[in-house]
């Protein structure tokens, strides 16, 4: 066998019907694109989740009002007023939750902040000084508010980098006063550019004492979240249980199915995020599998057509000395070259699309998203494409190789 000429012959077979070859490739292209997307975005999601564990810490437990949402549409059920100041007081008692190290209530909402002629609408978070410790984010300028300021309904605010940029541009913001819902707040700190962490964009927040937020901004007496930190990672599960028991006692709930709150640990939040990415991966994997299978059938179909069309050519080659094996290899190589070409296009398209997705996630959703193409994805993509050519090409190629030189020449 002369390899160079065998490849050349197979390539010529494909170029005779360029359009047909290209259309046949589409299924393979889509399938391989999906594989590249799965692996690239999967890697990105994993990186993102890992960076979140690192920023939040595994000891953090979040308590939200309402029952646990069963899906996106169920999120409204968390907007209830079941978490109050009294719950915080009960949870703080050592005999109720012995392994509780820190506790911080949170209220949040969106409000317009005004400085002179500039206005911007950040997410307002009412918290305590523990915010920096729990979320592991510290002001790059100024400071966080003290417990006294929280108790005293102080009019102080720490703003995210984007909020600062929108209101002050390049001017200094520290010590300036901004108006939120008609009330003046003094800027005592500015957060560094951080991006999205967990479900918050830290560049787009303004944090104030929760007391001030409840009283003057939102006019409510309840909390949107209570965040608890356990004294150690080992005690997280026990603390979760203690919290549930304490809150049920406090809310006079005897049946756990009637809970008007739910408790979530970082591990659970992580599980939820990864279950979403799992669904996404499964979805793309299904697309990949279906389109690769359909694409493979398409390849087989077009190769069968090609074998029939080229009966005369096959006969001629055999008459001139080609063995069945020569013909088998020629047609198998055509199928493999076809699917491999589809694989290469799919890989290029997959890289391009995952770059776009990364760009959108990074720039518009401010996620800390890293664009990466695992080498394994490229090898896998090429490998699968080649394998499909082999699997779906073998039957037409065998059919071609079995044609008799004489029968083939008789064909008109």
């Amino acid at each position: 066998m002369h390899i160079k000429y065998t490849v050349k012959t197979a390539f010529r077979g494909l170029t005779i019907n360029k359009m047909r070859s290209f259309l046949t490739l589409l299924g393979i292209v889509i399938g391989i694109t999906a594989i590249i997307l799965i692996m690239s975005l999967g890697q990105g999601a994993q990186n993102l989740i890992l960076s979140q564990i690192q920023s939040m810490g595994p000891k953090v437990i979040a308590i939200a009002p309402g029952r646990q949402p069963q899906g996106i549409t169920d999120m409204l059920s968390t907007f209830t007023d079941s978490l109050k100041e009294k719950d915080v007081a009960e949870l703080q008692k050592k005999n109720n939750v012995p392994h509780l190290a820190e506790i911080m209530p949170i209220v949040f909402g969106s409000q317009t902040a005004v400085y002179e002629n500039e206005a911007y609408r950040p997410t307002i978070l009412g918290v305590t000084g523990l915010f920096t410790k729990i979320y592991n984010i510290y002001p790059s300028e100024g400071r966080i508010f003290t417990d006294e300021e929280v108790k005293g309904y102080a009019d102080v605010v720490i703003v995210g980098s984007k909020v600062k940029d929108q209101l002050f541009g390049n001017d200094s913001a520290l010590g300036q006063r901004i108006k939120i819902k008609g009330k003046n707040f003094r800027i005592i700190g500015i957060f560094p550019k951080t991006g999205q962490v967990s479900f918050l964009n830290f560049d787009d927040i303004a944090i104030i004492p929760y007391t001030t937020a409840q009283q003057y901004i939102f006019g409510i007496k309840y909390f949107n979240r209570i965040v608890v930190e356990a004294d150690s990672e080992e005690n997280v599960n026990r603390t979760v249980n203690d919290i549930k028991i304490t809150l049920r006692n406090n809310h006079n709930i005897s049946d756990s199915s009637k809970d008007d709150f739910f408790v979530e640990t970082q591990a659970e939040a992580l599980k939820m995020v990864s279950s979403i990415t799992d669904i996404f991966t499964l979805f793309l994997a299904a697309i990949a599998a279906i389109s690769l299978f359909v694409g493979g059938i398409g390849i087989m179909n077009i190769m069968l057509v090609s074998v029939t069309e080229r009966t005369r050519e096959i006969g001629l080659r055999k008459a001139l000395g080609a063995t069945g094996k020569n013909i088998l290899i020629q047609f198998l190589l055509e199928a493999i070259m076809l699917t491999t070409m589809g694989g290469i296009i799919g890989i290029a398209l997959g890289i391009f699309l995952s770059f776009i997705v990364s760009f959108i996630l990074g720039h518009y959703l401010a996620l800390v998203w890293q664009f990466s193409i695992p080498v394994l994805a490229i090898i896998l993509g090429l490998g699968i494409a080649t394998l499909i050519g082999l699997v779906f090409g073998i039957y037409p190629a065998r059919k071609a190789s079995r044609k008799s030189p004489m029968e083939a020449l008789r064909y008109e």
Binding site: H2, K4, Y5, T6, T9, R12, I16, R312, E313, L316, R317, K318, A319, L320, G321, A322, T323, G324, K325, N326, S404, P405, M406, L409
Partner: protein, 238 residues
């Protein structure tokens, strides 16, 4: 002198839904350097005979010895190898590969040979030159006339320097002028020492041969030496 081709009670029966006896026991032999034409009405079995002599089809009875070795001793791969190294084929429908240059078409048999790739161009150009088509070596078949196509097909049959050239109605798709040119090339090859077996139903082409075998109903009806009318008269190559 030993026979290059020897048929001994050669039989061929097709067994599809109905049994068809195509050849009923043929005995003849061909010496090296002979130019034989095989004639017969359609259905006489002449094409079947050519297929078997050309190792394209198996026989069902008797024996066929090519260069003193029985066809039955060859595997399918072995038959392919003999076709590639010892036989050249010229077909009625030319059977050139479309969108492939003359040079590449002529090289085709070498693809399946043991000949080193570095020699291919030289061998192909020599074969093209011997049919007077050097000026067309980069053309594609679509741009050639019928006569030119058949001359390229002859070059392809010659490229591996075969022992026997089989021609199946080589002038069947050509006008008489192109047909004559093709026949004159075959005649020239014969003079150069090639063994040629020609299947035809046209008397004027058969007359180029030195021996005529007529087949009817699967049997040899006539096997005779032919008087040379055409010999070097108005010859293309003089």
């Amino acid at each position: 002198m030993t026979a290059i081709i020897k048929a001994v009670k050669l039989e061929k029966t097709y067994r599809d839904e109905i049994e068809t006896i195509a050849l009923r026991g043929l005995d003849f032999s061909v010496e090296k350097g002979e130019f034989i034409s095989i004639m017969g009405p359609s259905g006489s079995g002449k094409s079947t005979l050519l297929h078997i002599l050309g190792f394209l089809d198996r026989l069902t009875g008797g024996d066929y010895l090519f260069e003193e070795k029985s066809m039955n001793d060859y595997s399918d791969e072995g038959l392919a190898q003999v076709r590639n190294e010892k036989m050249g084929f010229i077909f009625q429908a030319f059977n050139l590969l479309p969108r492939t240059s003359v040079l590449e078409n002529v090289k085709l048999p070498l693809l399946y040979s043991d000949v080193k790739e570095s020699l291919w161009d030289e061998m192909a150009l020599k074969a093209i030159d011997s049919v007077g088509m050097s000026h067309r070596k980069d053309y594609e078949p679509a741009h050639l006339s019928g006569g030119e196509k058949q001359r390229i097909a002859i070059a392809r049959a010659l490229v591996n320097n075969p022992s026997v050239i089989f021609a199946d109605e080589p002038t069947g798709n050509l006008d008489s002028k192109s047909g004559s040119q093709v026949m004159e090339i075959l005649e020239k090859l014969h003079i150069e020492g090639h063994t040629i077996i020609l299947v035809t139903h046209e008397t004027y082409t058969a007359e180029y041969a030195h021996r005529l075998i007529k087949i009817k109903d699967g049997l040899i009806e006539v096997d005779q030496i032919v008087e040379q009318k055409h010999k070097h008269q108005n010859g293309f190559f003089k």
